[in-house]
């Protein structure tokens, strides 16, 4: 359970940034 909490918390911290990278790439590609 503890590992699950730590894993989930880590994703919550890191994944928005990762997703953002891809979202921004998509938008930039659309703009181009």
């Amino acid at each position: 359970f503890d590992e699950l909490i730590v894993e989930t918390a880590k994703k919550r911290k890191q994944w928005p940034k990762k997703i953002l990278v891809h979202a921004i790439q998509t938008m930039k590609a659309e703009q181009e």
Binding site: K11, R12, W15, I19, L20, A23, I24, M27, E30
Partner: protein, 158 residues
Amino acid sequence: PQGRAQVFSTVVDAFLKKLLAAGSYQKFASCYRCFYKLQPQLTRSIYDQFLSQLQSSITEEIQEVKSEGNLEGLFNSLDKIVEEAKAREEPAWRPSGIPEQDVRSALVPYLLKHRSYLRQVLREQQEENRKVAESVLAGRDRIVELQQLIRAHKEAWQ
């Protein structure tokens, strides 16, 4: 107010003090009474060593835990974050447990930027199209004019 690192050390020190106080010499001697009767001095010195060994082990361990988890750094940065939020009363946002929902806000600033970029591009395009449309209309008028001129010439000839 004390920072978290300070509170942490204070609380652990207090725990250690109370623990060592709990294990009093009286209690120790009464548990090891058979040995105490034979060697009271030795019992005392063993007890003293017990205390100092326990204290140094636990103190070292706390240092180990602090450096292992970088606790001091974390406590100090948490103090700063809490300080910055001082003005805020109501409970702050917390993860909803629905990732799709939580990631949205992270995207919003970029979507807003994208939207304003598209709005600007559209404005520029519309402006440019307006100009090109004007030249097209002017071109059409010119063609009509030329056709009329030619027709006039032709009729004159005819």
